[in-house]
Amino acid sequence: MENSITKGCRVKMGDQLTLLADDEVFGLNAKLKSEWLLSRLNDLTRHHVENCQPYANLLKGMGYAQVAGSLGEVPFVHTRLFKLLELMSIDRNAVFKTLQSSGTTSSGKSKIFLDAHTARLQMKVLTQILQHFTGRQRRAMLIVDLPPVQGGETLSARNAGSNGLAFLGRNHCYAMNTDGEIDLDAVKSFFSSHRHEPILIFGFTFMLWQFVTTCRDNNLKESLNDAVFLHSGGWKKMLAQQVDNETFKMAVRTQFGADIKIHNFYGMAEQTGTVFVECEKSYLHAPAYAHIIVRDEQTFSELDENQQGLIQVLSALPESYPGHSILTEDLGTIYGEDDCLCGRKGRYFNVMGRQVVSEVRGCSDV
């Protein structure tokens, strides 16, 4: 694969990925998108077959076709494979960074191998997608997490994740002290020094909830007229507290103003960069760089809209590892394509949680 990344594609095809123009990220209709994305995904499949022997074996052994005629035919690998095998399409010496994620269902951590090129690609696309919602101007940013540990190598995955998005903003302020408590003085001072500017508040869903309730309990009310709340992370802990997305949004708006933009986003370590962001109508949207398919839990065949099943994610980015088409363990429902009332093109959907996997009871359980 070529190493250059240029921007401003008007839906061209070819071996190398040219970044889409900003208005194309959520602006390609199904026909245009599938032409562009399918060609790219077929290129990626061929690339990984040529450069990753286990992946080539997998396709051959499973009888999966290398060239797909539609997005639904792009061969997928199960997400747990990244826990079982070290899959990469680059020389081991070219590994720039290894992402590890634990997932929740089965033991072991998945390992995702990035070279500098794929890492850069992920960063550029992540920025492009999120800036669609936050604007191109960097906003003053409140990060609802602990401040990064100076020089410490033991960053938790969560801490690393929230600091990984720091590039979206400027004048960063951390809303928690090192003990993990909400630092109300820091928050107040952040609000007072940026009262009349656009701001960005980011955190994991569960932390943001803790932040909002702490502000509520301490009567910290602010009228933020141009603020964006970005949050990600599962709803499991939230639903355990009987907090769904609507309750969450209501609480944020009560505390900080009715016009606040709140966007949840869904993504996975296996496909960093291509995230699915929630729109004003409360649906997650596939950007043109990515696609979503829902499959039957038993037969794995593609399901129609409005049917719940296993989520398969496709991404135009992974070049250093064969992760451009992954069957996840998340359950979701697609509601439509190109016709969301928010005006964005692409498939829109929701995630319902994680599939209950029947674990094989091994000897080693105690």
Partner: protein, 398 residues
């Protein structure tokens, strides 16, 4: 007589599930006494009524009088000449999470030999374990079995409460650890007293070996699939003795054709989970396999290490003869279950088993059947001490 220090099994941190609430003053009693055999027979009768629970029924058969008598014969046979067996003393057993009835097999052997046995049950134990424990509790409470009750305790404590593991490890004479490598590693952090011994059962893998014949009738194919079903579904593939792979012996072309043609019809009987099987297929194909059905893969030119098997499907290997198998790839396997193997081939298999340090050769369909000899350990010797009586000088001195 050995005696035990006071350890109470009924407090806020430890639950007595059945048996005696503390270690008895005297840890040993006579082996194979009438009340012991009668007790097991009584348990057996009660468990036999649970016809809908095959693993409970299997235990009931094991505990019935005729089987106990054959164990006693084996025990007696070990005491030929000057060699005699005596109970080891205190046996501390840590039961596995996946095989509910296993604790009762080993407890019964320990009890018959006159040991005091403390069994720590797993938090993961299922309904079969509860049923067996309830039955034990009821019968142990009968007055006539009070001496057996005094030497048997079945407890549960959270495995974070390591002080119990620590105390019992220091006091016991034999520590029996089921539960695979991780459990063994965790428990062995706690030292035994210097005369104590560990009996451990690490992670193992097992295989089936089948000689294929083109003349097989539907009836034979049915027998094969029933036997496989028993070994795969009784305890799930997580059990060490359940087959993870089938080694087919015969002509490669004939067997491949048979598998491609018929396996997809046979396999659904084994009840594999679809998603776990998909993961299994993807991994096995990445290792060079070829999918033949929803949960099966033929591996023609390589034999991946069995310990990497994800236990949700079957690997199929095809060889002309047993001599063609690579011993290295099967090193350390536990059970080999055979089907359609004649006498001559059985001898070759016996050599193969020995060469790859396999522990057990049996018929397909019986791979999970518990035996006094298990995983290479003779439990009659392991749970007792051996000594010499009437040494030669005493016999010859006049």
């Amino acid at each position: 007589m050995k005696s035990g220090a006071v350890v109470m099994f009924n407090s806020a941190d430890i639950n007595l599930l059945a048996g005696f609430e503390q270690l008895p003053n005297s840890l040993t009693s006579k082996a194979f006494t009438a009340d012991k055999i009668e007790f097991l027979s009584e348990i057996s009768k009660r468990l036999l009524t649970h016809k809908d629970r095959p693993n409970v029924v299997a235990l009931a058969y094991w505990l019935r009088k005729s089987n106990v008598a054959s164990i006693e014969r084996e025990y007696t046979a070990k005491q030929k000449g000057a060699a005699k067996l005596e109970p080891a003393g205190l046996v501390f057993q840590i039961a596995p999470g996946n095989v509910d009835a296993l604790f009762a097999y080993y407890w019964s052997l320990s009890m018959l030999q006159g040991n005091t046995t403390v069994t720590r049950l797993s938090a993961e134990r299922g309904e079969d374990a509860e049923l067996i424990l309830n039955c034990l509790q009821t019968v142990l409470d009968e007055e006539r079995f009070s001496s057996i009750k005094g030497q048997s305790s079945f407890v549960y404590y959270d495995h974070e409460k390591t002080e119990y593991t620590q105390t019992l490890s220091l006091q016991c004479d034999r520590r029996v650890i089921w539960g695979g490598n991780k459990t063994i590693e965790r428990i062995q952090r706690y030292p035994l007293k210097s005369s104590g011994k560990d009996i451990v059962f690490p992670d193992r893998q097992s295989i089936a070996v089948v000689r294929y014949d083109t003349t097989w009738t539907d009836e034979i194919k049915d027998r094969l699939s029933k036997a496989l079903k028993t070994d795969i579904t009784s305890l799930g593939q997580g059990a060490c003795a359940a087959p993870l792979a089938i080694v087919w012996l015969g002509k490669v072309a004939e067997i491949s054709a048979f598998l491609e043609r018929e396996w997809a019809k046979i396999e659904p009987r084994f009840g594999f989970d679809q998603v776990n099987s998909l993961v299994f297929l993807h991994q096995s194909c990445a290792l060079g396999g070829k999918r033949i059905s929803a949960s099966s893969v033929i591996l023609e030119n390589n034999t991946p290490i069995l310990s990497t098997h994800t236990r949700s499907g079957l690997w199929h290997f095809i060889y002309q003869n047993i001599e063609d198998l690579d011993v290295e790839s099967f090193s350390g396997i536990q059970t080999i279950g055979v089907f359609n193997i004649d006498n001559i081939e059985y001898k070759n298999l016996e050599e193969f088993r020995s060469a790859c340090f396999g522990k057990h050769l049996t018929r397909l369909g019986r791979m999970l059947n518990f035996n006094v000899q298990w995983d290479g350990i003779d439990s009659l010797s392991a749970l007792s001490v051996s000594y010499f009586t009437r040494p030669k000088w005493l016999q010859t001195a006049k």
